[in-house]
Symmetry: C2
Subunit: 163 residues, 2 copies
């Protein structure tokens, strides 16, 4: 590390500005939250790809880059590039012109993601969100739900440990 990391924390106690209504969390806590959200964002794509590939494999026995691309609404070139990233990260393998497959890690991730997705959708529906809306919203939400929250969802839905 060069610098950059002074442990500044609550430094505003000394100042006493108007300070009226707003309750603000500590700098550190807030920064940490935002950081978490940002990093979640970076894995979200991989999760989407892995889940989709898993679905395709399950549904038709194979997952082709173009199928993936079409499902995700991106160009095939983009899909291929991201699939390369999946391979780099040890989640998938692929033989040229032979389709994409998931490694063990990839399969495990896909399973986790799928369960989480369903749980989120079910929760949304349970609190009154229309099913199609729930499905669409879950696509964006699911990547940001902590395990703690998932456990709460499960409890709320009256489920033990299973889906």
């Amino acid at each position: 590390m060069t610098k950059t990391k002074d442990a500044t924390s609550a430094s505003e106690a000394s100042e006493s500005p108007p300070t009226s209504g707003a309750e603000m969390p500590s700098e550190a806590a807030q920064a940490h939250r935002f950081g978490k959200a940002r990093s979640a964002q970076s894995t979200a794509l991989l999760e989407d790809y892995v889940e989709l590939i898993s679905d395709l494999l399950g549904a038709s026995g194979e997952a082709r880059p173009t199928d993936v691309a079409r499902r995700l609404g991106v160009s095939h070139a983009t899909a291929i590039k991201t699939i390369s990233r999946l391979k780099r990260e040890g989640l998938a393998t692929s033989r040229p012109y032979r389709g994409v497959f998931l490694t063990e890690a990839g399969t495990a991730l896909a399973e986790r993601v799928r369960l989480r997705h369903r749980l989120v959708v079910d929760l949304l529906v349970a609190v009154g969100v229309p099913p199609d809306s729930a499905e669409a919203d879950a696509e964006g939400i699911e990547h940001h739900v902590s395990d703690t929250a998932l456990a709460a969802f499960r409890a709320f839905l009256g489920r033990g440990e299973n889906s």
Copy 2:
């Protein structure tokens, strides 16, 4: 590839693969959902900045780039660059060395975002997520909650229109 229910554009119905296992949404629908999630992602940053700036303005009367940077856990250079984007998009103004301010549009956006944030947190808490977890999760989730879902949340929480 299995086409489940709707026969949107070009699909392959000729194959009759093992199928069975998975139910997949139509290509078009799925692509649309992913696209939505992606675009939401692109506005998420702006929303975070605007909300934070609004909070800082409310709490201390001014919002300086470094404060914003520290709160978000990024370098001041990054914050300044993003604030430039806010200005480009007509959400904020700033005079050098004088801090950042929100335009009318920015203020309105901040208000909407703040309400949404609280609603999401409250819903999470209502279904049993611990408050601190709810607060952290909401930071990532809020950007992906549709108006439809928000309305459902409000109804579920037994609120009319207000927060």
